[in-house]
């Protein structure tokens, strides 16, 4: 495993700047997640590191050496895609062994057996090794395709939304599992997703992308509690952060244009009066849809609240986030 650095890397497709002067450091053994909506440059960044795309400008280092002029094979990276592509006519064992049988690697047969057994243990599929790939469930197939990356011992794992085609329950299971595997192997992993839950629960560092630029990099907690901009603040948190004009409440700092209120920033009891539009019982949490003058606010309240639509409550901000007219954070 190795650390990977990007220096001032840019890539355009025609008039579209897909990746715009990105500087990024992926330390050895880290689980770095690139987060952003569709079309923001996440996958292009991954493809630039793997060598599937060539940058227009900038440099990429893997383990200290510039890889700009190397082929994908020479870079020794392993990619896992959203759509698992296994060889359907092969067994799980043959699928896992396939990358090791590459003529470049010329791995001895007993070494292959050892590796495949080891990876099958890590993925908890040793009893499935002799099944045909097509006889597996969706979750098992994705595990095998992750396993095919694991057997190779690459410098870095590059994963492009590998869980997004799975159902919610399975996704939750594999999130925990992938994190466990990464930690136990000490692997360096770059993971691309638009799913904030995946980013928050697995990442050691999250990089937030906006129109090809890396706008903030930090631990999930830093990104959530200390976003540099309104854009970053809106990436994390469910229900998502409420945004109101800064003068909706007294006490906004100078230059503030927008106040950002996460549910935990809203204190009930005193302040401005807001009408309850709707009470949403989600079981583990209860959401209040409030109307303050013309603004809609979603907040959280006691699970078994007596509040009903039409009620009025008083609310005020507490440790709220303030942003200027450009969306940059001021306090």
């Amino acid at each position: 495993m190795a650390d990977v650095t990007l220096q001032n890397v840019s890539k355009s497709f025609g008039a579209t700047k897909a990746v715009d002067a990105i500087d990024m450091d992926i330390p050895d053994g880290s689980f770095t997640v690139l987060l952003g909506p569709t079309g923001v440059g996440k996958t292009t960044t991954l493809r630039l590191i793997s060598g599937l795309e060539h940058p227009d400008a900038g440099d990429i280092h893997i383990a200290g050496r510039s890889v700009i002029s190397e082929t994908p094979a020479q870079r020794n990276v392993a990619m896992v895609f959203q759509q698992y592509s296994l060889y359907p006519h092969m067994t799980v064992r043959e699928n896992l062994a396939f990358p090791l049988r590459s003529p470049i690697l010329r791995t001895p047969e007993d070494e292959i057996t050892r590796k495949v057994t080891e990876v099958a243990e890590v993925l908890r599929i040793p009893h499935k090794l002799d099944n045909k790939a097509t006889a597996l469930s969706g979750g098992e197939m994705q595990r095998v395709s992750i396993g095919r990356a694991l057997v190779r011992n690459p410098e870095i794992f590059l994963m492009d939304e590998p869980l997004s085609s799975l159902d919610a329950k399975l996704r939750a299971e594999l999130r925990v599992e992938l994190k466990r595997i990464q930690e136990s192997l000490g692997a360096t992993l770059l993971y691309v997703t638009h799913d904030q839950i995946e980013a928050m629960t697995m990442a050691t560092k999250i990089g937030v992308l906006d129109e090809g630029r890396l706008v903030q990099m930090g631990t999930p907690r830093e990104i959530y509690e200390n976003p540099v901009s309104l854009y970053v603040a809106s990436r994390l948190g469910q229900p998502r952060i409420n945004t109101l004009p800064a003068d909706a409440f007294p006490g906004a700092p100078n230059g503030a244009n927008t106040i950002g209120l996460r549910p935990e920033h809203i204190r009930q009891g005193e302040g401005q009066s807001a009408r309850v539009d709707r009470v949403e019982h989600l079981g583990d949490q209860t959401r209040l849809h409030l109307r303050l003058n013309d603004h809609e606010i979603v907040s959280l309240t006691d699970t078994h609240t007596d509040l009903e639509p039409g009620d009025t409550i008083a609310i005020q901000p507490q440790n709220a986030l303030y942003f200027d007219a450009t969306g940059a954070r001021i306090t």
């Binding site: 909506p37 569709t38 919610a168 329950k169 939750a172 999130r175 925990v176 994190k179 466990r180 638009h194 799913d195 839950i197 928050m200 629960t201 697995m202 999930p220 907690r221 959530y224 994390l236 948190g237 469910q238 996460r262 549910p263 935990e264 709707r278 949403e280 019982h281 989600l282 079981g283 583990d284 959280l300 699970t303 078994h304």
Partner: protein, 364 residues
């Protein structure tokens, strides 16, 4: 608007029973969810209400009239499908006005109606655009417009948001719910997404293998599940099941698990055998002095809260605790349970045992 009553409704396809003798009632103006995994019979139930399938036996009453064997066009309902089928060669206005024009409504009236619907859906500015160039969300709005414009007695929706991506789906589900609150039309909505059902529904029917597992308000179903299937299907992460062999007496307020007494709501029935102590993640607290011990396997940060996966003597459990509470992988901690919100299940049948907590919502 309409009240819909389903009585002993049953549907067989050859040897396969898709829906087994279902009964429930949808009140006038309710947003009603049919929830379950694929193949549970929810879509078949909806299609029988619509008149797209005829029941094998049983009755369907819309506003007191038995319509079970009547064709769809005599039922005055509007159906919105997952894949929004619009007429590709027509513009938005003509797509929405089509149902009215084919009813022979005068032009001026059609214009007025379409304008009103467009205003409700916020699509006034795209009325003269061809539908082929629209985004997924706008197409779904147009499909809704075509359903709304007829002012039917009720709306039937089959996973109308299923084809949209997650962020947009949340936005559309809020929009749909607001639309419903404005119009007050009875809506029956099929989904396999438990969060969508909890978020939008006034009432939920949970189905599995053609059988109704439970019927009630979202919070009742979440807090007082009638079966292990419901407890597992609703909630994310789902309810924890601590399995053990033991006995409870009528009137018991505690049960012994791995030499520790854990509290319960007062039990209304005695039971002995394989039991399950069912507790939601947010009703587990980590506390140093609690005698029931567990090892932290993983933590997942979620902003305000975190999910902690723990290994106990009775299997793995997940706890939802505040994110500022320290929990380190490998550490051994004590667990305390909010006994008042616990459900005991018979592990063999999956049935919830009656207690002070759930006696009000469990029937039969």
């Amino acid at each position: 608007m309409a009240e819909i009553r389903i009585q002993n409704l049953r549907k067989e396809f050859g040897d396969f029973t898709a829906v087994q003798s279902s009964s429930f009632k949808i009140e006038d103006g309710e947003f009603f969810m049919l929830l379950g995994p694929s193949g549970c019979g929810k879509t078949t139930t909806l299609r029988m209400i619509a008149g797209l399938e005829l029941p094998t036996s049983g009755e369907i009453f819309i506003d007191g009239d038995e319509v079970g064997q009547k064709p769809a066009r005599e039922r005055d309902i509007a159906f919105v499908f997952q894949m929004f089928a619009l007429y590709p060669h027509m513009n938005v206005r003509r797509n929405i006005s089509y149902p009215l024009v084919s009813q022979g409504m005068p032009r001026a009236q059609v214009r007025q109606k379409v304008a009103e619907v467009a205003r409700i859906l916020g699509i006034e500015d795209i009325l003269d655009r061809p539908v082929s160039g629209l985004s997924g969300g706008d197409r779904q709005r147009v499909a809704l417009g075509r359903a709304i414009v007829r002012e039917p007695k009720c709306f039937l929706m089959d996973e109308p948001l299923g084809a949209l991506d997650a962020e947009f789906r949340e936005h559309m589900s809020e929009e749909l719910r607001k639309l419903h609150d404005r119009m007050g039309a009875t809506t029956v909505y099929v989904t396999h997404d438990q969060l969508e059902a909890m978020q939008m529904g006034d009432k939920i029917v949970v189905m599995n293998h053609g059988v109704i597992e439970q019927f009630g308000t979202p919070l009742d179903i979440y807090d007082k599940p009638a079966s292990m299937f419901v407890a597992d299907f609703i909630g994310s992460p789902s309810m924890n099941f601590l399995k053990f062999h033991g006995a409870v007496a009528e009137g018991a307020t505690g049960v012994e698990l791995h030499h520790q007494t854990l509290t319960l709501p007062t039990q209304h029935e005695a039971f002995e055998g394989d039991l399950v102590y069912g507790v939601r993640p947010e009703h587990i607290r980590l506390s140093d002095d609690a005698p029931y011990r567990a090892e932290v396997l993983a933590t997942e940060y979620l902003g305000t809260t975190q999910i902690v996966t723990l290994d106990t003597q009775n299997g793995q459990v997940k706890a939802r605790v505040p994110s500022d509470q320290p929990a380190r992988t490998g550490e051994t901690v004590g667990l305390s349970f909010n006994g008042a919100m616990v459900t005991l299940f018979d592990n063999q049948t999956g049935r919830a045992l009656k207690s002070d907590l759930n006696a009000g919502v469990l029937h039969g």
